[in-house]
Symmetry: C2
Subunit: 228 residues, 2 copies
Amino acid sequence: MKERRFDEELDSMNKELLKMAAMVESSIHKSTEALKRQDSGLAQSVIDEDREIDEEELKIEEMAIDLLALHQPMAGDLRFITTGMKINAELERIADLAVNIAQMVKELAGRPLLKPLIDIPKLTKVTQRMVKDAIDAFVNRDQDTAKQVILSDPQADELRNLVYEELVNDYIIKDGTTAPRAIPLLLIARHLERIADHATNIAEDVIYMVQAKVVKHHPEQLDNNGGV
Amino acid sequence: MKERRFDEELDSMNKELLKMAAMVESSIHKSTEALKRQDSGLAQSVIDEDREIDEEELKIEEMAIDLLALHQPMAGDLRFITTGMKINAELERIADLAVNIAQMVKELAGRPLLKPLIDIPKLTKVTQRMVKDAIDAFVNRDQDTAKQVILSDPQADELRNLVYEELVNDYIIKDGTTAPRAIPLLLIARHLERIADHATNIAEDVIYMVQAKVVKHHPEQLDNNGGV
């Protein structure tokens, strides 16, 4: 009986994590759409909805601690719970970065955009895919997808650097008065790249959960056989 | 006998956390000294030493998971272990930000500094104090000190904004060619402010550990009676 209760609670923690993941994906989507459309109202909705995400994070954290305290789980379940706690924290940080992007969109509002947004749409695409894949990897306990996420991270770094160099060299240095429009874009690129870092952390957590093997800080231990 | 073993392991996790905290404080100190002295060699040592901090983080994480799995701790001990895991992760992130500062110092190397470093030394001081106090609060299970840390966070935000505005308005807009010297300082200010955020997270964790009460995302629940 106690066993069944535990399984139900574990299942419900899993469901809440999926709900949290969906909320966070929606925040990223809205904040990047707000940038594309220069839509301050949409940006504001990302900022307003962050409180719900914060509360969802706390709810999951409490569920996890209760599971640990009341049921003293072993091995695989223990690993699922501790990894779930970490993924929960990573998701909350991604949501905070979506809020940071939304704040920059509001700061840019009313100012003419530096027109092509440089490589930011490309970086957005890479980052969104990494988050989606990291979450899918978690849902399906799929380490191959998790590895793909980790291997995508250098691409996000590189795109961030491209955006940075172009904004500084082609805009700000040539005309300092572009700074109030260029620097928010520069920071948006950083926020996106950090979202990619958190997606990478989630992917590392998934591999740990599946393999019970730590790859964090040791990308060289990624075994790339098997079609990644 | 099992009980004694557990207490010893808990104590040794605590000691490793203090070691981790000392390593991280040293990284912040070195990276900000490197900025002050424009010392690329010192900045490089921060970057090199980060690997040891990463390994210490993993060591503590494994100790925590072993403690959870092997001893199934209850109540207060459970809370110490889960909070310790979170503080461990925050410390590792602070160290990463010290690395980011060190990277900016290297990028600035050889270029004449925008001379007064604006309010960065003040922000550095506030941030270092917050980290030190957050760690002391953890060591002494002292919630009053933890509250002080949380209440200092707006000051760090404000100093970051001052640095940002001065760099943009007084330097970059007036002369775009200052951007390669100004933008790294702008990012350093961000990194310092984010270190302050992580110190705040640690302080919130300490209060949770002591009171079993979550203040995260709810600063209005801080009870400021009692000399804070």
